[in-house]
């Protein structure tokens, strides 16, 4: 039998408290790249958690029509998705029109967080297998650049779509 000890409490007691330590806390360069990688992994994970609930809610509008007494199946879902992908204000360029809509902003955010979370997750799994442990920071920057390239090409791909719902909605 080993005695259970609270490591967190003990370490906090042993830490010396100095004013310079307190000021250093606000210095963003006092922490390494890995600390920020971990922090954004947490933040993006929690944001994606909220997104998944919203996504499931909107997608499950698909089956609500018979309960609401709407005559055409999928009318509610099609209407909501079409409204979200409407441009906020009209410009001359069709590609830019697609880019200024509520749906595009949400998609851009979800893609950014999702790609970061996925890329950093793969990086963590690589370290668990012992691959690249001595090159953690280099691998972080490589994955970040690859992620940004994926994100930008994904944004272009979405903007080039003619609209994921073009008919079958209320007033269409």
């Amino acid at each position: 039998m080993t005695k259970e000890t609270n490591i967190v409490e003990e370490s906090q007691v042993e830490t010396g408290s100095k004013a310079s330590n307190f000021i250093n806390w606000f210095n963003p360069f006092s922490r390494g790249v890995g600390m920020y990688a971990w922090l954004f992994q947490r933040i993006s994970g929690l944001c994606l958690l909220i997104y998944v609930f919203i996504h499931m809610g909107i997608v499950s509008l698909m089956v609500l029509d018979p309960f609401l007494g709407l005559d055409q199946a999928g009318l509610l879902y099609n209407t909501v998705v079409h409204a979200m992908n409407q441009t906020l204000f009209e410009t001359g360029n069709e590609l830019i029109n697609h880019m200024i809509s509520l749906g595009f902003f949400i998609d851009a955010g979800v893609m950014a967080f999702g790609i970061y979370h996925g890329a950093n997750g793969i990086r963590v799994v690589l370290f668990d297998f012992g691959i690249g442990i001595r090159r953690q920071k280099t691998i972080f920057w490589i994955f970040l650049v690859l992620g940004v390239i994926t994100w930008l090409s994904g944004l272009l791909l979405i903007a080039m779509l003619p609209g994921i719902v073009t008919g079958g909605f209320i007033g269409g």
Binding site: G45, L49, M62, V63, N78, V165
Partner: protein
């Protein structure tokens, strides 16, 4: 005989040695994470971009990701529903276990840990049952 032994010992190295250490959840978080990498790619391509095999009138009249397109895929590709259910199970486990990991960093007591796990398990079961109802082809065939 020797190959069998090595394969079982390899599997054993992934299993936690101490009960209640949550090490199995750590392994499953990695496994589901890698699975999600593939499943999200599938989900995005099939749901939002691919119009392969779709009848031309559905794409023209309603759009690639409209209710009608999803319904058509669900009726004509049984594998689509199966992969969707697998995707939902993986996502729900990964996100709730990830939330639990974040909460465990607050160093909760033994009792709080157990209550948290029970609440998350309940939320997970409710979510999976709800989504299984939504993805049910008999509901989609209205």
């Amino acid at each position: 005989m020797t190959t069998e032994l090595t394969s079982t010992s390899k599997l054993k190295s992934f299993m936690p040695k101490h009960k209640g250490s949550s090490a199995l959840y750590w392994v499953l978080q990695r496994v589901t994470g890698v699975m999600l990498f593939i499943l999200i790619l599938f989900h995005m391509l099939v749901n939002h971009y691919s119009s392969a095999h779709l009848p031309a009138n559905i794409v023209a009249d309603y759009g690639i990701a409209s209710f009608q397109a999803v319904q058509w895929k669900m009726i004509n590709f049984p594998l689509y529903s199966v992969i969707s259910i697998l995707f939902v199970l993986t996502v729900v486990f990964h996100m709730l276990n990830g939330f639990r990991t974040v909460m465990l960093d607050l160093a909760p007591g033994k009792m709080n840990k157990r209550v948290l796990a029970m609440i998350l398990l309940l939320i997970g079961i409710l979510l999976v049952v709800y989504v299984a109802f939504v993805l049910n082809p008999t509901v989609m065939n209205t």
